[in-house]
Point group: C2
């Protein structure tokens, strides 16, 4: 399907479900971006879930979002259970505005939901020549180190920086060995998952995607990854007034109430301390790319580079819609 | 040796090497703290190295440290190649002051050196009821993902938060599978290192500490850990005006000039968005500790908890001085 046509279709679907023009457009753009960068687990595969949550009144289609000024640098957003895309869009825009004004921005969001890819919002800040750090938590998927039960989300750590070139440095890494969305897609398509990334509900290693969804995902690097996940839970949940300690509901399975996810956006200018940041980072990347490489590696890529290349390539083509998604679209249009 | 006596001895040694009263005391405290928390690789084993660097004029014993105010929240420290402990002490104190004034503090330091444990500085901020994030880079030890040569340091990621109890939440995790300092201690004591943490200089796995020091340390979690290390290099090096891209000199081996390490300190108040942070985090920790545990695990510990317990326990005892360190102390007193 042509990207333009898909966008119109998505907007139509969101509007049919009660979202306003602007919110529908923001949400459609976020889903299409996920498809274009190849993050299918955050793309169209979630459309029906979002609509279901609106219809079951656990996403508020007409939220009264409040932005409270704490200081010139610091703002607090109560998203009133809006769709996560809209809450995050307001959050990052406010963080950009604050950093442009004072050098640094800190914005907390509460009463939000799953917002897709952190990197998508990081790109917005980097385009405005800012460095950014973004934290959000997620439904239980990863067991704390020493525990036999999932509690932390895949809690991504996201960092973005300008590179002095078109392709931004965007690190957007979940602290689980594999994204939960990828397991979900594998389960839907009856595919296996890699070894060593998950345990089943009895605590045994598994490569069965469905068993992994019912079990426990493993954090990267044992206690280190567990600690990073805990950090994200504190920053995006405890600090912001959002849900935390395993209380974020699974958006696919639990319609008993809103997710109340919290997000934290930190932004700052690149020229606070040096006046040649762009040259410095260009040089940094150049030196690293020149290192001797492991056999079979053509180029050392910085985080975000592959995603950008996929985005550019896919933007020139039609978007491939799987049979499962086609069914969803048909259902949602009726 | 009694802690008090050791402190007097260390101060005497630093003063003999040209450091002033205050800087000697700050440095002695940092080294003793490392011993008390059991981080021996950052403790007395480094004393001779620091003195050697002062004598070879690559650490400045009488630095003219400049603190520049960028805004009420943001400061920039030129440490004039002071010993790292002193630069970091000024950096974190300024970051605390700024956050207390405006809610958030951002402090960059350049022309500094190895400062020991990030967690030691994080504790200072947490004691003042602040959340803190601290970044510093280090000499090449870890290969970027895809590269056959070390370039990133073990670049720790440090995060601290109050817990509403005496024991702070301090995550201080290097992005390498093992701390370089631990390999160094193992090499000194002719001990083996664990499997899977390092390659020798030919790219082969090794458990020989000396071969590992000559080779490459592996990052946690492949490209994810490599990306985190790159992030730290940007935040603490590229942004601050410090060395980066593998240019930080090894303090033990390279006396051809100062290290010019950069640090970044971020601090903010816990009550910016919620007025009951302490209760929220207490509850967070309580819920996680109550999870079912893996066989053999008595208690799920949060980052920093074990270190605190070791510190309390060791603070009541004399400090054990190894034969190698005794030799160093004797040498440095003559």
């Amino acid at each position: 399907m042509k990207i333009k046509k898909l966008k119109q279709l998505l907007i139509k679907i969101f509007k049919k479900n009660g979202l306003g023009n602007v919110h529908s457009s923001i949400s459609a753009n976020a889903l299409i971006n996920a498809e274009l960068v190849g993050a299918y687990a955050h793309g169209l595969s979630r459309l029906k879930m979002y609509c279901d949550r609106i219809n079951k009144k656990v996403i508020n289609p007409k939220p009264k979002i409040k932005v409270k000024k704490i200081s010139q640098s610091i703002s607090y957003v109560d998203a009133d259970n809006s769709i996560g895309f809209v809450a995050a869009d307001i959050g990052i825009k406010k963080a950009i505005e604050n950093a442009k004004k004072t050098g640094i921005g800190l914005v907390a969001v509460k009463n939000s939901g799953h917002y897709g890819l952190s990197g998508y919002y990081a790109e917005q800040a980097v385009k405005k020549n800012l460095i950014t750090m973004i934290y959000t938590n997620a439904p239980p998927a990863v067991a704390p180190h020493g525990a036999l039960k999932s509690l932390f989300g895949t809690n991504p750590i996201c960092f973005g920086a300008p590179t002095g070139s078109k392709i931004p440095f965007i690190l957007d890494t979940s602290i689980s060995m594999i994204n939960r969305g990828k397991i979900r897609v594998a389960a839907r398509n009856n595919q296996k998952i890699p070894e060593g990334v998950a345990l089943d509900k009895f605590g045994n290693p598994t490569i069965d995607a469905k068993k992994a969804l019912a079990g426990v995902q493993l954090p990267i690097a044992g206690f280190r990854g567990s600690g990073l996940a805990w950090m994200v839970d504190i920053l995006s949940g405890v600090l912001t007034g959002g849900n935390h300690a395993g209380k974020v509901k699974d958006p696919f399975d639990d319609f008993s109430g809103p997710q109340n996810i919290g997000h934290l956006f930190i932004t700052f200018k690149t020229n606070l301390f040096v006046n040649n940041f762009n040259n410095r980072i260009k040089n940094n990347i150049k030196i690293i790319k020149k290192l001797p490489k492991i056999k079979g590696i053509k180029e050392i890529m910085y985080p975000g580079q592959n995603k950008y290349i996929r985005f550019k390539m896919n933007s020139k083509k039609d978007i491939n819609i799987s049979e499962i998604i086609k069914k969803d679209l048909k259902l949602l249009m009726n």
